[in-house]
């Protein structure tokens, strides 16, 4: 699964400032909502579902990266957004470090395969130090999408 197929350009945040995990997650969910991916009435419910998932264990998986996610019936295909936090966000990560790159995923409950493929795609690219470094330097959503396309085509 290619990143550019499910990351929503209009929802990318390249200058996230958040004082907490919940603030970061809310900003990203709002951004997906503003991009028209689900109705506003679902916003609180999606944030709550993602925060509930965080209780099972932080999705801050180390290397300055977090992948908060949930399943939710308000989407009919896998959607994701990316946020870059230059100052870092305290995320109770597994390695105790702040996070600088966040991928937030929402997948339809009846499509577990798509969720796994999305996670696989994100993880595969995030293992690449160049990808992470370029992502952190991106200044606009257009920069990010160009990087995602390069990664999808193994041009990094």
């Amino acid at each position: 699964m290619k990143l550019a197929e499910f990351v929503i350009e209009d929802a990318i945040i390249t200058d996230l400032t958040a004082n907490s995990k919940e603030e970061a997650i809310r900003a990203m969910v709002q951004s997906l909502c503003s991009a028209g991916r689900f109705a506003t009435e679902n916003e609180d419910n999606i944030v709550a579902a993602i925060m509930k998932r965080e209780e099972l264990g932080s999705t801050g998986i180390g290397r300055g990266i977090a992948v908060p996610h949930t399943k939710h019936p308000s989407v009919d295909s896998l959607v994701a957004t990316i946020a870059i936090a230059k100052e870092g966000v305290e995320f109770q990560s597994l390695d105790g470090e702040d996070v600088y790159i966040l991928f937030l995923l929402i997948s339809p409950p009846d499509r577990p395969g798509d969720h796994l493929r999305g996670l696989e795609s994100i993880s595969r690219h995030l293992k690449n130090d160049d990808f992470c470094s370029f992502l952190r330097q991106s200044k606009t959503a257009t920069d990010v999408m160009e990087l995602l396309r390069e990664a999808d085509e193994d041009r990094l």
């Binding site: 099972l56 264990g57 999705t59 998986i61 180390g62 290397r63 992948v67 996610h69 597994l94 577990p112 395969g113 969720h115 796994l116 493929r117 996670l119 696989e120 994100i122 993880s123 595969r124 995030l126 293992k127």
Partner: protein, 93 residues
């Protein structure tokens, strides 16, 4: 002196959502302090079980058969412990 041994075990993913992030975290946590190497293999792919990033690339849905391979001191214990995690579907003991 503890002998370095190699152990294998096949396990099946019995989670409805497949091997998603929670079980991957549990696996990485379980093997973190093992003084050897642990791989999890499916078909022609093999990943380092100490790396959650690697584990997430397994993309293993319900029913996938995985092979665990551990090389190091008391590798049998490590593999049995991992297999037990799969058998109880990653629920706490």
């Amino acid at each position: 002196m503890t002998l370095e041994t190699t152990s294998h075990r096949e396990v099946t993913v019995n989670l409805e959502s497949g091997l998603h992030m929670v079980p991957c975290s549990r696996i990485a946590e379980h093997v973190r302090d093992f003084a050897g190497t642990v791989c999890i293999m499916v078909e022609d792919r093999s990943v380092d079980a100490k790396s959650i990033f690697d584990l997430l690339t397994l993309r293993a849905p319900l029913g996938t058969v995985l092979t665990i391979e551990a090389v190091g001191p008391n590798s049998d214990d490590l593999v049995q412990g991992l297999a037990a995690l799969f058998e109880r579907n990653f629920e706490p003991e």
